[in-house]
């Protein structure tokens, strides 16, 4: 971890709060741990760690029908398991959903077990016509609230994809 990453995490939390997110449902990814910790310790949010990524899709979709803002936070691998849930719930009923994912398998991720995400994450997003935005620079964190609001206009899901450089710094620690 670099000194920079806790600041990034708190800025992401501030951005979520600014657009009315209350519920954050999460599954861990090592790159996301500072964001998860920041949300968990922040009274502006109700943080619900869930058993699998599909549960986050269900929780956030139900919260929308109760007028509560929400975000689902997960790694790229977890996202690859939720395609049916998203197409069934969020596309069939046109229920907005905001996702924050890791851009695993891209340049800078030195883990071979994420090669499949590098190859297929973005093609899968394209295949289901889900808009997404890569956030790789702290100056672009404000795009989170812009993307969140787009889900409400679009009445469907949108994802932001965080890079390793953003979450751990360009010369960040060598952890997973």
């Amino acid at each position: 971890m670099t000194e920079k990453t806790p600041d990034i995490a708190s800025r992401i939390a501030d951005e979520l709060a600014s657009c009315g997110v209350k519920l954050v449902a999460s599954l861990p990814d090592n790159w996301l741990m500072n964001v998860i910790k920041s949300v968990d310790q922040d009274d502006r949010f109700i943080h619900v760690p869930v058993n699998r990524e599909e549960s986050a899709i269900g929780l956030c979709s139900g919260a929308y029908m109760g007028a509560m803002g929400s975000a689902a936070l997960m790694g790229a691998s977890g996202f690859m398991t939720v395609i049916y849930a998203i197409t069934k719930i969020n596309y069939t009923y046109e229920i907005p959903l905001f996702l924050m994912l890791t851009l695993r398998g891209a340049a800078g991720d030195h883990h071979k077990h994420h090669i499949s995400n590098g190859l297929y994450l973005r093609p899968v997003l394209d295949a289901i016509n889900m808009p997404y935005l890569v956030i790789d620079n702290p100056d672009h964190i404000s795009e989170i609230s812009r993307s969140y609001r787009h889900t409400r206009t679009f009445s469907r899901p949108m994802a932001v994809l965080f890079t390793r450089d953003l979450l751990r710094g360009p010369h960040g620690g060598g952890g997973h």
Binding site: G58, L59, G62, M65
Partner: protein
């Protein structure tokens, strides 16, 4: 218990609860028993997410009581949901597990380990305390009001042991809504009941 008779008994005791159905049979039976087109979200074929959807709704709207139906076919796909439900422990949520020991929406195909699955024991092993089981209509009719009174002692889990859909029940009409129509019917009902704003504008 006959499936449709069970749902007619549930409908008889329903007061102002919001209902979320699961895939296939529970949606058909609830539609047949109630013809509810506003206060029920017919969540078709979500493969185990009806109670997670309901948990999000119950969290957002503590003023409303929620009944969430789930078949045991869906339950088998994601029993870990009970860990999340126990952790949230929402007093306004009742998870009603409809156990017919088959994949009812797909020609009553067998569930894995269907003879031995003990859903109440699974729930208790995850720390749930308000766990109830019914296997005869008389007990259900008599005891259900006390079980689902809501806002009592936390999250409630009810197991209903029913027979698989009969050939006649298989022909029950599916709820006839397209997704967006259902979303708006249900959402406007939530707005009316709670005074909240689901869609960003009120009619």
């Amino acid at each position: 218990m006959k499936y449709l008779d069970t749902f007619r008994t549930l409908a008889k005791h329903r007061r102002d609860e919001i209902v979320v159905t699961s895939a296939g049979n529970s949606g058909q039976a609830w539609w047949a028993a109630t013809r509810d087109s506003e206060a029920t979200f017919y969540l078709d074929a979500s493969m185990s997410l009806s109670t997670m959807f309901s948990s999000g709704l119950a969290l957002a709207r503590p003023d409303l009581k929620i009944w969430a139906f789930m078949g045991d076919g869906a339950f088998c796909m994601n029993p870990g949901m009970l860990m999340v439900e126990r952790q949230m422990n929402l007093p306004n949520l009742t998870h009603i597990l409809v156990s017919n020991r088959v994949y009812g929406a797909t020609s009553n195909a067998d569930l894995p380990n269907y003879k031995d699955n003990d859903y109440a024991a699974i729930a208790r092993s995850m720390g749930l305390e308000r766990v109830f089981e019914f296997s005869d209509l008389q007990s259900l009719d008599h005891d259900l009001p006390d079980v689902v009174q809501g806002n009592a002692h936390g999250h409630t889990f009810v197991v209903l042991e029913v027979e698989p859909f009969s050939d006649a029940e298989q022909k029950l009409e599916q709820p006839p809504f397209d997704g967006p129509e259902l979303k708006y019917r249900f959402g406007r009902h939530i707005e009316k009941r709670s005074g909240c704003e689901v869609f960003g504008y009120r009619l």
